[in-house]
Symmetry: D2
């Protein structure tokens, strides 16, 4: 425990890569919310592996099958469960992973934690495939949030050290390859292709912004929006860091450089700058919430790597076969949006408890 | 909701800066655990304001009074509540903060969230003073963890861009000013003094390491150690970023550069490097857990700042009087240790549920 | 929120009577626990509608399909999700229930709560069918508990005022009709048949006993075993009361009549009597936990009943067609066992956190 | 874990009978709610021991000291903590209880659970005194609920088998001794006095009604109002049973006798009778919620009782000295109201999440 996220909705993700299905249950969704399944499918297709250099050739329809929780196109108040059947399973590829753990993967830690009983075929419950049900939950939250005027978008901010300059708030993000500057995107794709050709992988940074938020979501101490969003975003495998607003850079600044002055704009209290990333004292201040998440390079590389044989206790060399993304960052962009959507919607519902007097 | 942290213990922090008391309740502490109150006081004194350049001149004994949960020097199985009475309160200093919010503070967001009913005197529930009860809870967890061979230590890794080089794992950390290299520390103190003399403040980074961990704490997805520790650490006011292992730097690396090869050392499975910060697939791998948290500069500065008057809706200039730290980073070092201790102990108790067969 | 039960495992039940599927997710099951699917099916078949006087003629295979959470016949540490596909759906029968609520049912309250968006076809999420996934979760917990020496059994203690005398602890319970005394069972069946022939239904009481429990499960105040078991048992539709040990009868006794004297038996501390139902101060005392749950008569009866039309706001008369049990008590016996198993296993896992030092 | 109750507010009770203090923290109270401390004191005084035959001669001021969570007479959005200092402690009386457990008490189960480290002086965390902080939390919730038109009242329905006839909904309840019929009350007091004079104690039943509830609180399955209220009420030591509406009696009825017909009254949908106790499908139906809780007789009696010496493992005879109530039922009446208030207010806040669209 626990695969669950949320105080006001409860999102529980289940499934293993090569089990009959993966899926998600969302409990606590208010009744009467329309869910556009085509829009949901379109959102999911953004993380689906595609015909390009940077994603695994494994093909999955990733068709979400709503089992319950809806009636007449709307939520009905009962928990919503959706599953995705695993079709294209090739357990043979992973036969040697049980006893020789892949560096950078959960093979070893799962082996010990589950005392040899883990189902690690295809990465099992640790597979990147589990981000598909996360996207189902997040996609549903996104649709509801949008009707409340809250929008969430993310972009690749960097891959392998190559940055996409641009301003996520004001500039348009590409659809095929989610960057603002096409040239930066082209360089990133070259970087990925080069890594792939060398049997290697590469990491990156995803930036996400949430606009249209009311003042007052989140709360002090452990209730803060930073902690709430972090817990959701660290639920995405491969994330190793997160920062809000100017984040780590604020550690180099003085208060006079970092504080955001309050002003009146369009009749509302706003801040002139947004170095705090839209969060003060753990609470949204009405400005856009901005954060960045660091993704480590995919640990699955085809180069020989040093590992140990857990049965013999001896060091050995491992060569990983199978289908892997040389860089998961492009496909992770909607996943970050999904995690943010879940965290924000959960906080929004929590806010209603205190407001409605 | 919620000021509470934890799945297996539940740490609830309460209090406002100028209310009768602040404090903490820890529910779920196993019975029979010795708590050395002198050691706890010594731990708390590390965050207490002192006679130095970098901390507020406000003096508080910060004496924790255990109200219940102990008998004969040991936990008794009932919830442990400790309070710290607020003695040196000077609410007058903050009289003008109610309607003119301080930039970078929770004044405005709390004003809206609590609909004008927030007690913001001295920062209220958002005050840095609330990290004292966090340290009580964390200090108690630290003592218990130490008996299990798990130790936690933190240092100032940077202030105002000045870094402490050194290796936190192998080198000794100073006690007066918690850095490894005295010269780096001296430069940081100069940096703080300069900011103070200019009516300003400065931010920094704290690095923390947890050693002696067993393999198997945490879990996949939302159960991961990164998310668990983040939620605790973002509970500390002023934290705006966190990263594990090489963290954001891993986004620039290739898989072959970032993966930690498994090896056999002293008869145990270990990794040759520790770029993952001791966590794989959200689960501890037996190597030290290492993370860094970015602290923004204290928003309270004595320079005039632009703000708005919430009653008139007009822009105005604010000058903050009162007692404030020009840099909270030195005093925040034990607070980061405390947050880590709570998160780790909670995960350790959770681990027992699956192990004990 | 919340359809979930548990602090240490988390059981989430989902589905509507006429949706594609109903099911359950159990998070937090320790890895390596064998699950015998045949035994699980046999347990589920005890609540399945049968060829007899007292159950609905609706036929469902109620075949649980494990979607994930297992590998090689054992739990693998990942959440276990099982679904039961709804095959024999006849939504037409319920067409008139949307606007004319059935007395004693959730039709009206669900209508208001979900603002007209509830899926009440076949009772929707409120259907007795949802006790099938409860039995999946409980059946799995029962299997694990049995290996720890903890056994759970229940019987019909009364139907329509006809009581089964006998002692649940020492006497054998029938399998076809779960009572101790065959004659009492025959009278109960007559009572049910008579009610059915008169277009009516009848209620009853189920008694449940848990043996083999260690001392120390549960805790004081809100952590007590009575509250934990109650929350699980009230999760079963139609339960309107619960009592532990002598229960309501203890309200008539004196302390000297109600207290259970401690004694030494077989070298262990035991109590001479067990009026407290195996729970003292909310904590198991090692004696069998005994409780009784009161089931109201099935609200679905074929007699005309007075109701209102929610669209016109006028009073009207309702005649319910469809398939209904004249008495759900016989089929609810395994459901009560399942609820008890979930509550006890959750408490047992919680106990491990404090023990394992 | 856990001494906490609630999904939307979180009520955590702490303290031991002879520790410095007992108290409660309520997290999640919306800001801006007035709390009348005199009214709260008056509510608490209803459970205070008094100058009468049926309560312990131990005198405690039971003065609640609000430590935080309020400002200017209103909740301020931060957690509210109140403590009651233990003044009149006489630990000597209980010296022999450590190794010879009192029948009917938690002495033995706590001894085992906490491995000899429990603080059982005066009953420790299991003492009836812990119902005082429960009343603080409940009293605060009652005040807020009253402003929403929701009122809660309870009465002694029976003591030692002597019943108070009357209708709790329509008739007035006495203040000195909370029954409707003075004569029934007089007989109950005689019954208590007789038990006391014989060194014995006696149990009883408390009936509670909640009026003014909106339709829609609670939910299906584990979210039902019966389970929510039960969990709160079983948090009161000595409660061994609970039933809603006609409760156990419904087990003897037919559906046609038990169903409550819907009708239109005063322009609203209501039910002609209220056998379901205001709850259908786990959800409030707008009618009064009615329940009864069975209290066992106080286990502390002055007659010699058989027990065992846990140090020697031998059977022995125990005589309990000290101050005890011969019947806790009269003092428990406000405690039941408090538990109901907490459960109802928590459900009311939960309802706001789904409503406010």
């Amino acid at each position: 425990m626990s695969e669950s996220y949320g105080e006001n909705i409860q999102v529980t993700i289940f499934g293993q890569s090569h089990a009959p299905a993966i899926g998600v249950t969302i409990d606590g969704l208010p009744a009467g919310e329309e869910i556009d399944l085509d829009e949901l499918r379109a959102f999911l297709s953004r993380r689906a592996p595609g015909n390009n250099a940077w994603s695994t050739p494994r093909k999955e329809a990733d068709e979400p099958e709503i089992q319950c929780g809806m009636a007449n196109g709307k939520t009905c108040g009962a928990p919503l469960t959706a599953i995705i059947r695993n079709q294209n399973t090739r357990p043979g590829d992973y036969a040697n992973l049980r006893t020789v753990p892949r560096p950078g993967h959960a093979d070893y830690t799962a082996y010990v934690k589950y005392d040899g009983s883990a189902d690690m075929s295809g990465g099992g419950h640790f597979s990147g495939r589990l981000t598909a049900p996360l996207c189902i939950a997040g996609g549903i939250c996104k649709q509801i949030l949008k009707r409340e005027g809250i929008e969430i978008k993310a972009r690749i901010q960097a891959i392998g050290g190559i940055e996409d300059p641009g301003d996520i708030l004001t500039e348009e993000i590409g659809t095929d390859f989610p960057v603002i500057h096409v040239e930066a995107g082209a360089k990133m794709q070259e970087c990925i292709a080069k890594a792939l050709s060398e049997g290697d992988s590469v990491g990156g940074i995803i930036e996400c912004v949430v606009t249209g938020l009311p003042v007052g979501l989140g709360g002090p101490l452990f209730d803060g929006m930073e902690g709430r969003i972090s817990q959701a975003v660290f639920g995405i495998p491969a994330v190793k860091g997160i920062e809000f607003g100017v984040g780590f850079a604020s550690a180099k600044l003085r208060g006079s450089e970092n504080n955001d002055a309050f002003c009146i704009k369009d009749g509302y209290v706003q801040t002139e700058t947004n170095r705090c990333g839209g969060i003060l004292g753990g609470i949204t201040n009405g400005m856009p919430v901005i954060f960045r998440a660091a993704f480590k390079p995919t640990p699955s590389i085809s180069r020989p790597q040093k590992s140990v044989d857990l049965t013999t206790g001896e060091e050995t060399t491992l060569e990983i076969k199978g289908r892997h993304d040389p860089c998961i960052v492009p496909r992770a962009v909607p996943v970050v949006e999904a995690a943010a959507a879940i965290a924000v919607y959960d906080a929004l519902l929590g806010r209603r408890k205190e407001e409605n007097r």
